[in-house]
Amino acid sequence: MSNTHDNHEAVGHHDEHAHHEENFVSKYIFSMDHKMIAKQFLITGIIMGTIGMLMSLVFRLQLAYPDTKFAFFESILGHWGKDGKLDPNFYLALITIHGTIMVFYVLTAGLSGTFSNLLIPLQVGARDMASPFMNMLSYWFFFISSIVLLCSLFVEGGPASAGWTVYPPLSALPKAIPGSGAGMTLWLVAMVLFIVSALLGGINYITTVLNMRTKGMKMTRMPLTIWAFLITAVLGLLSFPVLLGGSLLLVFDRSFGTSFYLNEIVAELAGGIERTGGSPVLFQHLFWFLGHPEVYIILLPALGITSEVIATNSRKPIFGYRAMIISILAIAFLSFIVWGHHMFMTGMNPFLGSVFMLGTLIIAVPSAVKTFNYLATLWKGNIKLTPAMLFAIGLVSFFISGGLTGIYLGNAALDINLHDTYFVVAHFHLVMGSAAIFGMMSGIYHWYPKMFGTMMSKSLGYIHFWLTFISAYCVFFPMHFMGLAGVPRRYYANTAYDQFNVFIDMNQFITIAAILGGIAQLVFLFNFFYSIRNGKRSPKNPWDSNTLEWTAPVEHLHGNWPGEIPHVYRWPYDYSKPGEESDFIPQNIPDESQNGDPMVEPKAPAVPHHTEAPPMQSQVKEVVMFSGLRRLFGFAG
C-alpha cells in the first residue's frame, strides 16, 4: 500500500483534494474511493433486497393460505398480524414497500449504483470518478433514504400503502387509507432523497465516461457495460427530475391544501378543504414519465453486464457490437416516449393510447436485436459455464419470456383486459424483476474477485443459480394464467370470487416455489459473506477477460493502477482471434501495426469482419449509420 500515497499526486482531480491519512472512517465509511462506494452500494442493496424478499414471502403466504392463521405473524407484525391474520391494509403496505424497495433500492441503486461505481473508472481507465466527493454524497443520500423508508414501517398507520406507483387521491388523502398518513410522507421524503442520490451519481457517471477515458479509449472501444451505464445514467438524469416535480406537487396536495391532482373531493375527505381543479391522471403522466425509463434504468445495466459476461465466457467477441450500441440508444430514446402504455385504462385520451402503443411495440425491435445477438454470440462459442455465465443465460431466458409478454401489454387493445391483472405482475417480474436480479447476480459472481480479491465458491454458485432459476420460473410463469383468467393484482385474497378461487392450488404452488427461492438466496448470502474472508485468493485476471479492470492489481489502491494508466489499443472483444495463440487479447496490448500509438486503429479493423468478405453495400451503410453517432459525440475516428 506504500505506493498509494505516491499516487495521490496523480489522483487529485480537485486542488482541494487534500493529502489525508486513510483512517477507518475515511476508508470504510466516508470513503471517496469508487470501489469502496460500490461495495457500500452493493451491501446496502443486498440488505434491502433481503428485506424486500422477506416481505414478499409474508404476503405470498397470505395469498396462498387466505384462510389459515399464522401464529408467527402476530409475533413479528404485532397488531398488523392480529390472531395470525395479515391486516388487509398492511398487506397493501407490504406490496407497496416491496415494490419500492425492489425497484428503487435494489435494482436501481444496488445494481446500477454498484456496478457503475465499480466498473466505470476501472473499465474506461480512470483513477476515480470525476468527483469522488459527489460520489460519496450519492451513497450517503441513498443510505439516508433507505433508513427513512425503513423507518416508515414503524410509524402510526403504517408505511405508504397506495402501491409503489402511489397514485393520488389514494396517496393524497390520509383518510382514504391508513398508510397515506405519516408513512406516505416518509415515503415521499425517502424518494426525494433517493432522487438526489440518483442525480449526484448520474452526473458523475456521465462526466466520467465522457471526460475521463484513458488514452485510446474511444467511444467505439468502450465495453458494452460502459455504454449501458452511460445510457442508464442519462435516463436517470432526465427522468428522475420529473418525478421530483411530481412528488413536490403531491407533497403540496397532501400537506398544504392544494389540488393539483385532486378534483371533486369533498372537504371532509380532504382535511377540511374542498379540492377541485386538478386531475389524478396528471400525476400518472408525471410518474410514468419517470416510471417507464426507470424500467430501462433497471434493465440496461443488467443487459450491459450480460453482454460482457457472455462474451467473456463464450470466448467469443460479442456479436454485432455496433448493433448492440444502437439498440441501447434506440431503447433509451424510445423509453421516453412510451410512458403512457401504463395508463391505457386510466381514462387517458384513446388517441394517446394509439401513439403510445406504436412507440411501445417499436421497442420490441431493438430488444429482439439484442436477444438475437446474444444467441449469435453463444453460437459456436467455447462456453465456460461459470455461475456468472449461467446467470447471464438465465437473464436472456427471462428477457425473452418477459419481453414477449410485453407485446401483449404494450398493445393497447389487449391491455383492456390484461391491465392490472396478474399477467402484468408476471410480465414485469420476469422482465425487470428476475432478469435484472439475474443480471445483478451475474455481475456479482463475475466481479466479486475484483471487489474483494477473493473468489466465491463455484459449487454454491451453481446451487444458488439452479434453485433460483427454477423457483423464479415456477413463481412467475403460472401467474400469466391467473392474469388471463382476469385475477386482478393487489388483491388481499381471491376468496370473494369463485372463478378466481380455483387458483388457490396455483397460489400455494407459487408460494412454495417462492419460499424455495428465498432459501436459495441464503446459499448466496452465505457464499457472499463467507467468501470475503475465506474465499480463495483471486488471480489478477480470473476469467481471462480483455477489459481494463483486470489489468489493475488485485489489492485495491486509491487510484486503481500503481503506475501509469494503461493505454487502450483495441476494442474489448478480441476473444479467440484467429492467428493468435491466446484466446484473449486484453485491450491494453498494442497491435504491431499501431507503432505504440493508441489513437491509431489496428491494421486489422477494430471490429474485424468475419472470414467472408462482407458485401460492399452494408459496409457503406454501416459507415453512414455509425459516423453519425460518432459525430454526435464528437470523437474523431
Binding site: A71, T276, I407
Partner: protein, 423 residues
C-alpha cells in the same frame, strides 16, 4: 498452510453443525408437545419443513389452536423462528462442507464434480421439462382462462382474435429462441482443445433480424390500432346510458330512465340521503334509477359513464373484455354490447351459480379485494320487468327542497364551458 486452513474450516463446520443441532433440539423439544414427533434426525427435520410448506394448514392450525395443545401462541411462533435459524445454519454447514470437499479434492488433484457437464445436462433438462411444463400449464390452467370461456360482448370476438394472433406469433418466437438459447449453451460447452469461432458480426443477418421483427410488429401494431379504435370509439345513438358510481368500497348504478338522459350531479351533495349527489331539481334526473346491481338487456349497446367519490377505482368487466378506471373528477366513458346472457353463460360453463361481476381493478384500500358488483345480463323482457320494480330516483330520494335550491346550477356551468374556447 493449506492443511491448517482446512482443519480450521472443518472445525468451524463442526461447530456450526453442533450449534444447529442444539437449536434444532430446542426446536423439537418444543415441537414435541405440539406435533408429537420427537426426532433429532436431519431427515425428519426435512420432512417437517416439507410438511410445513406443503401442508401448512395441518401443521399450523395445530399450532394456533393453543387451547388443545396447552401451549400459548407466542411459543408456537418461536418454533418458526428457530426453524428459520436452523435452515440458515444448515445452509452454512453445507456451504462449508462443500468448500472443504472441493479444497480436499483439489489437493488430491481431481475435481469433485464435473460442473461443466452437469450444468450442460441440467440446461437441456430444464429446457425439455420447461417446455413440457408450459404445454401442461396450457392444458391444465388454460381452460380456466377467460379466452377459453369465451367473451360475452360483441367486441370481445375481435379482442380474442387479436389475442390469439399475438399468442401464436409470440409462441413461435418463444419456443425458437428458448430452444436455441439452452441448446447452444449446452452444446458449445467449454473444451480446452477447441477455439471459439471469431465471428464479430454479419450485417446481412443483423438486417434480417431487425427487419423481420419490425415487419411482424407492424402487423401487430396495425391490427392492434384497428382493434383499439374499434373498441374505444364505439358509439351508438341508441345506447342505454348507465352511470357507474364507485366509492370505498362498493358500486352503485344509475340508469338514465325512460328519457335515457342522466340528470346532473354535484359532488358536494353526495351524502347519506343522496349517495350519488344527483341534482334532484333537474328534470332529467326525475326518472333516474339507482341500484346496487347491474342489469343489462342482451344485444343492446350500453354506454357507461364512470364517476368516483373518493379515490381511483377500476371498473373491470373481465368477461366483456372491458375495463375503465373510475377517476374522481374525471368522467370517463366506455361502451359495449353484451351478447351472452347470464343464463347462457351458466349453461356454457356448466356452473349453475356463475354470475358476471364488476370488479375493482385499481388499488383503493383495505376492502379493494372484495369490492364487486353482480352483473346480470338478461333478455329485453326480463330487463324491462326488473326495471319496473325499481323505484325512480326522485320519489326515493325525497330530499328536502332547501338542499335542492342550494345546489348550484350545473346546467349553466356546462353551457359556459361549451361556449368559451380556450384562448
Amino acid at each position: 498452510m493449506i492443511l491448517k486452513n482446512l482443519l480450521n474450516k472443518t472445525f468451524f463446520a463442526a461447530v456450526l453443525f453442533m450449534f444447529s443441532l442444539n437449536v434444532f433440539a430446542l426446536t423439537s423439544n418444543k415441537a414435541t408437545t405440539l406435533v408429537a414427533k420427537p426426532s433429532f434426525e436431519l431427515k425428519s427435520l426435512m420432512t417437517e419443513i416439507r410438511m410445513d410448506l406443503q401442508n401448512p394448514t395441518q401443521l399450523i392450525t395445530a399450532q394456533v389452536s393453543p387451547m388443545s395443545a396447552g401451549v400459548d401462541a407466542t411459543s408456537t411462533s418461536g418454533i418458526n423462528w428457530l426453524l428459520i435459524i436452523v435452515a440458515i445454519l444448515l445452509v452454512a454447514v453445507i456451504g462449508v462442507v462443500f468448500d472443504i470437499l472441493e479444497k480436499t479434492a483439489k489437493i488430491q488433484g481431481k475435481t469433485l464434480l464435473n460442473w461443466s457437464k452437469i450444468n450442460s445436462i441440467l440446461l437441456i433438462l430444464f429446457l425439455v421439462l420447461g417446455l413440457i411444463a408450459t404445454v401442461w400449464e396450457f392444458y391444465a390452467h388454460g381452460k380456466l382462462t377467460l379466452f377459453e370461456q369465451g367473451s360475452a360482448s360483441e367486441h370481445g370476438a375481435i379482442y380474442d382474435n387479436m389475442f390469439m394472433i399475438t399468442l401464436a406469433l409470440t409462441g413461435v418466437v418463444f419456443v425458437i429462441t428458448q430452444v436455441l438459447l439452452f441448446w447452444y449453451s449446452a452444446k458449445y460447452k467449454h473444451n480446452p482443445n477447441r477455439k471459439a469461432l471469431y465471428y464479430p458480426d454479419n450485417h446481412k443477418l443483423e438486417y434480417i433480424w431487425t427487419i423481420v421483427p419490425a415487419i411482424v410488429l407492424t402487423v401487430l401494431v396495425v391490427r392492434g390500432l384497428i382493434t383499439w379504435n374499434k373498441i374505444m370509439y364505439q358509439k351508438d345513438e341508441k345506447a342505454i346510458n348507465v352511470e357507474i358510481f364507485g366509492y370505498q368500497f362498493g358500486w352503485n348504478v344509475r340508469y338514465a330512465g325512460t328519457d335515457n338522459k342522466l340528470g346532473f350531479h354535484d359532488f358536494r351533495t353526495v351524502g347519506v340521503i343522496n349517495p350519488l349527489g344527483v341534482d334532484t331539481t333537474d328534470e332529467k334526473a326525475f326518472d333516474d334509477v339507482v341500484t346496487n346491481e347491474l342489469h343489462l338487456p342482451v344485444g343492446v349497446p350500453v354506454h357507461f359513464h364512470f364517476r368516483a367519490k373518493d379515490v381511483i377505482h377500476g371498473a373491470y368487466f373481465p368477461h366483456f373484455r372491458a375495463q375503465m378506471n373510475v377517476v374522481p373528477g374525471l368522467p370517463t366513458q366506455l361502451e359495449f354490447i353484451p351478447t351472452v346472457t347470464t343464463a347462457d353463460m351458466r349453461a356454457k360453463l356448466n356452473q349453475p351459480t356463475f354470475d358476471y361481476a364488476l370488479l375493482c381493478n385499481k388499488i383503493c384500500g383495505s376492502a379493494h379485494y372484495r369490492m364487486k358488483m353482480k352483473i346480470v345480463i338478461e333478455s329485453q323482457a326480463e330487463y324491462e320487468k326488473w326495471m319496473k320494480e325499481q323505484p325512480a330516483l326522485v320519489n326515493k330520494a325525497a330530499a328536502p327542497k332547501v338542499e335542492e335550491v342550494a345546489t348550484p346550477t350545473a346546467d349553466s356551468k356546462k353551457k359556459d364551458k361549451k361556449e368559451v374556447a380556450l384562448n
